[in-house]
């Protein structure tokens, strides 16, 4: 297909300085792009579901959160409280959540075996044990791959990780860099999202049109998906730049900001809600540092207060906006903490019997899955692992966990081979 420059140029405002926004050439180019990608229609996916992952970095104690054992030698000083769901009790450190479990399922029977930060991150990030030579994608990349619209104006996958402890950037592995996260560490505004002052907006747009014109002359003939990914990435730049307002909580009312509270975690969760609302499929907000080898109880008193306030605010807000049924909120870390209280009144790494929660989209609220023994040392009922958790998350979003990605001649299912969703907590 040959492009006649006069056709796209005569109608264009490329020539003048006045034009702002979408231009004739861009539209023309979009058609060219469509023609060069016969599979385009199949790629149109509906990004109507989202995940917000509250990442409890360092490993929160299940005993001070979702699986309390007061009165036992391992129980620690805090009591348990009755929740709004008859028969379900959680730690008194989560009072707000205790009245909001209608949309939440608690899993109390994770046995992920690995209690070393580095390897445990990998297991909980990817839902699998590491395998040399294979770069497994992180949960966010899997979800983005399944849910993102290929030409979306919003990011596919955003991670907020402000503290330095346990900071690890998510990775798309074999799904390709298209699904890498926007990784926010210092500032809550993503890097390179703002136009430099040295170029006016109209020029920035038309410069991109010119680049696209030059690029597509080349890529149309090649018909190579790797080359096309270059154009796709650049085509998303302007849209992403226009999504900068999503990261700006000044745009929320005072009342809404107060609702999420003044903490950084609260503000980040408010941003996460803004992103989910705009169709971002996956947002991870990390809250550190739960690694309480010493002073476990003071640490949890402080961190649980933040978690309780913010998680409750987030669920309320999502529900009030009618978003909860399409938004899955996960609280998870790399592992839990030992029932045994050590000499520094701390709890150490523990991966044999710990908890997480799933709320909202696709989840049967007010349910508890699995059970630990009276001291919380072992799982006695419903033992489950990272692969099953991933399968459950995918199933809750309506994605088939057994769907396979071909890595060379090897089919790899989205959730680890042999894993099964926990049907009992699915809606």
């Amino acid at each position: 297909m040959k492009i006649d420059p006069s056709v796209c140029l005569t109608r264009r405002r490329l020539l003048g300085a006045a034009a702002i926004g979408a231009s004739g050439m861009a539209a023309n180019m979009a058609q060219v792009e469509l023609l060069s990608q016969p599979a385009f229609a199949e790629q149109l996916q509906q990004a109507d579901k989202s995940v917000i992952l509250l990442w409890l970095a360092g490993g929160a104690s299940q005993l001070e959160t979702w699986d309390p054992k007061p009165g036992r030698p391992t129980g620690g000083p805090f009591a348990k409280i009755q929740t709004c769901i008859p028969g379900i009790e959680i730690s008194e450190l989560l009072p707000k959540m205790s009245s909001r479990l209608h949309e939440t399922a608690i899993i109390r029977s994770l046995n992920t075996k690995i209690a070393d930060h580095g390897q445990a991150y990998e297991v909980m990030d990817t839902g699998r044990i590491r395998e040399p030579g294979v770069q497994f994608p992180h949960l966010g990349a899997i979800i983005a791959h399944e849910l993102a619209n290929s030409h979306s104006d919003v990011p596919d996958y955003v991670e907020m990780y402000t503290s330095t402890e346990g900071r690890r950037k998510g990775a798309a592995g074999y799904l390709g860099a298209r699904y890498n996260p926007m990784f926010l560490t210092e500032s809550m505004m993503p890097e390179n999202l703002k136009r430099l002052e040295s170029i006016r907006d109209a020029d920035h747009q038309e410069r991109a049109d010119l680049q696209r014109y030059l690029s597509q002359q080349f890529s149309m003939k090649l018909r190579n998906p790797i080359v096309d990914s270059h154009n796709t990435a650049f085509q998303r730049v302007r849209g992403l730049m226009s999504s900068d307002y999503l990261f700006d909580i000044e745009r929320e009312s005072r009342a809404m900001r107060d609702h999420y509270g003044p903490t950084q975690f609260g503000e980040q969760c408010l941003i996460a809600r803004r992103l989910a609302e705009a169709g971002v499929p996956f947002v991870k907000v990390a809250r550190a540092w739960w690694d309480s080898h010493g002073q476990n109880f003071e640490t949890h008193q402080e961190l649980c207060a933040d978690l309780d306030f913010v998680m409750a605010a987030l669920l309320d807000d999502l529900k009030q906006r009618g978003m909860l049924e399409r938004t899955l909120v996960i609280t998870l870390g790399e592992f839990g903490r030992t029932p045994q209280i050590n000499g520094s009144l701390g709890r150490d790494h523990f991966a044999s019997a710990w908890s997480c929660t799933l709320s909202g989209c696709g989840i049967r609220g007010g349910s508890v899955y699995g059970k630990t023994d009276e001291d919380g040392k072992t799982v006695v009922e419903g033992e489950t692992n990272a692969g099953d958790l991933f399968a459950t998350i995918l199933a809750a979003l309506g994605i088939d966990p057994k769907k396979e990605i071909m890595l060379g001649s090897r089919p790899i299912p989205l959730a680890d081979f042999g894993s099964k969703p926990i049907q009992e907590i699915l809606a």
Binding site: S6, P132, N180, N192, I226
Partner: protein, 547 residues
């Protein structure tokens, strides 16, 4: 004891051969293009069998861009390209290739490629990169580099560089096992860890654990050197639930038996104490070395071509893949009986070429880049069906590696008069090193191409909006392309110069018209208009790929 001595002597013997200088011109003096001809004959057979017409060969400027990227790791400077185009003597492509292969650039690029193959995905390591550069500058042969990396404590005892491949993986037996097997032998045996390979009859759990056992005793000392213990066994549970003791088994199924040695309890105590010291104290003496070294056994096995040709086949296949965009065996880590080469005889020829030249990779590389197969166009006639990639009838467009891209951006954005031609100034090695350092800050932000490579949004945003990109590549100054273009008088010439400097070609008529309109609509901000147009060229797909 005798057994071990013979083994080690064998290894030493192989190693002494490394000192022999192998000169490209001598090796191929008989028929400098014999390998290229044989490559093309081999592929021609396929074209005839499947009835496909291969893409026509590219012109000189496309060839120069392609081969300079592949051998020098960067686009040609405008002056280099002009000089090449002006050359009318027969054999100009051979001359260019030979020139590039002895250049300073060649060593830097070969270093960067080795780093990508062996470590860069896991770790950025300056000592390691310095070691690799030394190796590529001296044109060390592949079998020597293999020994240095897998036996750092024997080959380069004090070297903190060569040690990195193992050290980075030292705490992870599976990583040492599978990465060595994948990267040096083209055999990904990870599947065989948990079960006999479901698709491939070649790989059983015995192979996986047999090969792993060669690494079982390997550890890193506190001071960061590699060493081996005197004992250490490896047991595994078969899928049938039976516990089994692994043999020292190479990938082809041959195994060796550890000689019986008797040591007194006191000797053991002393050995273990010293090893413990070395593991815990960075000031401790190097630990004692066992007379039976499993890793060394593995290395000498791999070097013995009467037992295994995997080392040469893997290197030949990976070099082909790097230059041609796809392995003769594809994917490159699936070298086994269920996944035959697309051109088995050709792969044998290439592997033999490498082995016949004592693992000097240069004759092989030279043979490939001077073949017609290498010089085919990457564009298809408009309506043609896409031929199957394993026929090599059309060039695959390959994304630039991080350093290729960063260096090329740097070159393309400079004032062309400030860049050398084919004749290099006396201080060229120093200048080239500075380019490399300059490129690093960007190179480290670009993705390393993988099989499922995609350009990331992060990269597009970086190039679109980063002040560093603007400062480095789009400044309007006398030493930059943007500045240079302001000094060229006629608009026709400006547009020609921009296209030539960045893309190495003249603009097509429609491109010229578009650029003229773009610049003409911005007469009130001419400098910025030129800047924006140069940006559009630098960030175009055509520039981002080697095609």
């Amino acid at each position: 004891m005798t057994f071990q001595m013979t083994q080690w002597l064998g290894l030493v013997c192989v190693l002494t051969c490394f000192t022999k200088c192998v000169c490209v011109s001598e090796c191929v003096a008989d028929d400098k293009l014999a390998l290229s001809v044989s490559i093309d004959q081999n592929l021609q057979q396929t074209f005839e069998n499947v009835g496909v017409t291969p893409a026509p060969l590219v012109g000189d400027s496309e060839f120069a861009r392609r081969v300079t990227l592949d051998l020098a790791g960067r686009i040609p400077t405008p002056r280099e390209l002009k000089e090449f185009l002006a050359d009318t003597e027969i054999g100009k492509r051979e001359r260019l290739v030979d020139e590039l292969m002895v250049s300073e650039d060649y060593a830097f690029h070969a270093r960067n490629e080795l780093d990508i193959q062996l470590l860069a995905r896991l770790q950025w390591n300056n000592d390691w990169r310095a070691y690799l550069l030394q190796a590529t500058r001296e044109h060390r042969t592949w079998n020597r580099v293999f020994c240095e990396i897998l036996l750092p404590e024997k080959m380069r005892p004090e070297d903190k560089g060569a040690v990195a491949f193992l050290k980075q993986r030292a705490n992870d037996l599976d990583a040492m096992t599978n990465d060595t097997s994948t990267l040096f032998f083209g055999v990904n045996i990870a599947c065989a860890k948990c079960h006999d390979h479901p698709l491939v009859a070649d790989w059983h759990q015995d192979h996986y654990f047999g090969f792993a056992k060669f690494f079982k005793r390997t550890f890193a000392t506190r001071s960061g050197l590699m060493a081996e213990r005197f004992d250490g066994d490896l047991k595994f549970t078969t899928t049938a639930g039976e516990e089994k003791r692994a043999a020292f088994m190479f990938l082809n199924g041959e195994s060796i038996v550890e000689p019986e040695l008797s040591r007194s309890a006191e000797e053991w105590t002393e050995i273990r104490a010293k090893i413990k010291q070395a593991e815990s104290n960075d000031k401790a003496d190097p630990p004692p070395t066992p007379s039976f070294s499993p890793r060394e056994q593995m290395v000498s096995f791999a070097l013995d071509s009467s037992k295994s040709n995997l080392l040469a086949r893997n290197a030949a296949n990976r070099i082909w893949a790097r230059l041609m965009g796809r392995g003769l065996i594809h994917p490159v880590d699936q070298m086994h009986s269920e996944n035959p080469a697309s051109h088995p005889e050709l792969l044998n020829d290439l592997a033999n070429e490498l082995a016949d030249h004592d693992y000097d990779t240069r004759p092989l590389i030279r043979g490939i880049v001077l073949s017609d197969a290498y010089a085919r166009g990457s564009l298809l006639p408009d309506s043609a069906q896409l031929p199957s990639p394993e026929w090599f009838a059309v060039r695959a467009a390959r994304p630039l590696t991080p350093f290729q891209y960063a260096l090329s951006l740097w070159i393309a954005s400079k004032n062309p008069d400030s860049l050398p031609g084919r004749e290099k100034p006396a201080d060229w090695p120093k200048i080239r090193e500075q380019w490399e350092q300059r490129a690093e800050q960007f190179a480290r932000r670009f993705e390393i191409p993988e099989e499922h490579f995609q350009v990331s949004v992060e990269e597009a945003l970086l190039l679109s909006n980063s002040p560093q990109v603007e400062g480095e590549f789009l400044r309007n100054q006398s030493d930059t392309l943007v500045g240079y273009l302001q000094s060229v008088g006629d608009e026709q010439e400006i547009i020609n110069a921009g296209f030539f400097n960045v893309l190495g070609r003249a603009p097509k008529e429609d491109e010229r018209a578009v650029v003229r309109l773009y610049l003409g609509g911005r007469l009130d901000r001419r400098d910025q208009a030129v800047q924006q147009w140069v940006w559009a060229l630098l960030t175009s797909a055509e520039f981002r790929f080697n095609h």
